[in-house]
């Protein structure tokens, strides 16, 4: 249950940011790496789907999405009444936590590979499916019926924004081409994945270091929320995974999905649909607290939870 080495690159980036190193990853490299990671994950998911898809998954999918909808609905009142945040801020943060993080998921997959654990590859599909409901709920919580919403612009941003679009595009290409079709691309999209993830995490560390400053201004509540909320969500994911008869690896991944908070698709969508929400708060909590928590402590913890529930339940 030791630390994944790629996580050390996140720590290095964090250190660079906090020590004010002049290390900077150019914006275009950040963009290129995220395009690569999204495509690669999508392709992997598509290939797995081509191999594993069964009609039974459909029901599982509905249940997994249904349970996930609870997350923003639980987060919102906590943020609004316990945290005394403005309605827009509470709704926006709830949407971030209801949504998911591709990188957290990837580190979960890397962790399982190191632990030589199998998992249900088609879970990658939920990286796409869990995004939309959480964002729609977030907007509805912010507006509560009143106030004009740029639904058109926002839904266009969600569906055709680069993260969902590339994940989905990769899924389709992977599914259509199948394992042998994709094989000549393996050298780039699979073999280099871990190294690219390491460099991306270096950049994430740099960005997270900048986000911590935002948080300092807004007190302890958000930091506490950023640590407790993922554990709550992960518990829900663990129970769901076990109830749906996923493997230990799959259970852990579902917990990690629920626990993760979006910092790519959600910020863009919220900025359009709920512009009065302060992005410093939501990105600060998601990227400055929850992301490091999840990759440093959360994933080993969720693995232990998954093992425990499977042993106890059996």
């Amino acid at each position: 249950m030791s630390l994944e080495p790629v996580v050390l690159f996140f720590v290095l980036g964090l250190a660079a940011g906090l020590l004010r190193s002049d290390l900077k990853i150019p914006g275009s490299i950040y963009d290129a790496l995220s395009i690569y990671l999204l495509l690669a994950i999508g392709l992997k998911g598509g290939v797995k789907l081509a191999e594993q898809a069964t009609p039974g998954m459909l029901l599982d999918g509905v249940l997994i999405i249904g349970a996930a909808i609870l997350i923003p609905l639980v987060a919102f009142p906590i943020l609004r009444y316990l945290g005394k945040l403005k309605r827009a801020d509470a709704a926006s943060i709830a949407a971030h936590y209801g949504s998911v993080s591709v990188v957290t998921f990837s580190i979960g997959v890397a962790f399982l590979a190191q632990a030589a654990q199998e998992y249900e590859g088609y879970l990658i599909v939920f990286l796409v499916l869990l995004e939309v409901p959480a964002l729609v709920i977030g907007v509805m919580l912010a507006r509560y019926g009143a106030g004009k919403v740029r639904w058109g612009r926002m839904l266009h941003e969600v569906f055709f924004g680069k993260s969902i679009f590339l994940l989905l595009g990769g899924l389709i290409i992977g599914y259509v081409a199948g394992p042998e079709g994709i094989q000549p691309l393996d050298k780039v999209f699979f073999d280099l994945f871990k190294g690219a993830l390491a460099i991306f995490l270096l950049e994430m560390g740099l960005v997270a270091a900048g986000r911590l400053a935002d948080l300092r201004a807004h007190g302890l509540f958000l930091i506490g929320f950023g640590i407790v909320m993922p554990v709550v969500s992960a518990s829900l994911g663990t129970v769901m995974g076990w109830a749906l008869d996923l493997s230990v690896g799959g259970t852990m991944l579902l917990a990690a999905l629920y626990a993760s908070a979006s910092y790519i698709a959600a910020p863009a969508a919220m900025r359009i649909a709920v512009p009065e929400a302060n992005p410093g708060l939501s990105i600060g909590a998601a990227l400055g607290v929850t992301f490091p928590f999840n990759i440093l402590i959360g994933i080993p913890l969720y693995y232990w939870m998954a093992q425990t529930i499977h042993q106890t339940g059996a």
Partner: protein
Amino acid sequence: MPEQNQRLLTIVCESMLESFLQEELPRLGASGYTVTDARGAGRHGRRGGAWTKESNIKFDIVCDAEVAQRVVEHINREYKQHYALVMYSTDATMHCV
């Protein structure tokens, strides 16, 4: 060489507004615009540009005073309140053939 007295209006804002302004500026009467990537600081703190979410863009628009006025009012109404954004303008001469 004919010349035209115009305003050079500059808008610095969050980069996510690019696609919106691209659509709206021609409708407001601007015959053209130039965009560059930028970073900076202001009332909304440092926007370092390292990361899409905190990078800026700069629109330069050469237009007559009336169009400039219309653009400023549109942006004040639609975006100024909730987005990191500044606008300033200077007199400018457009050099035409």
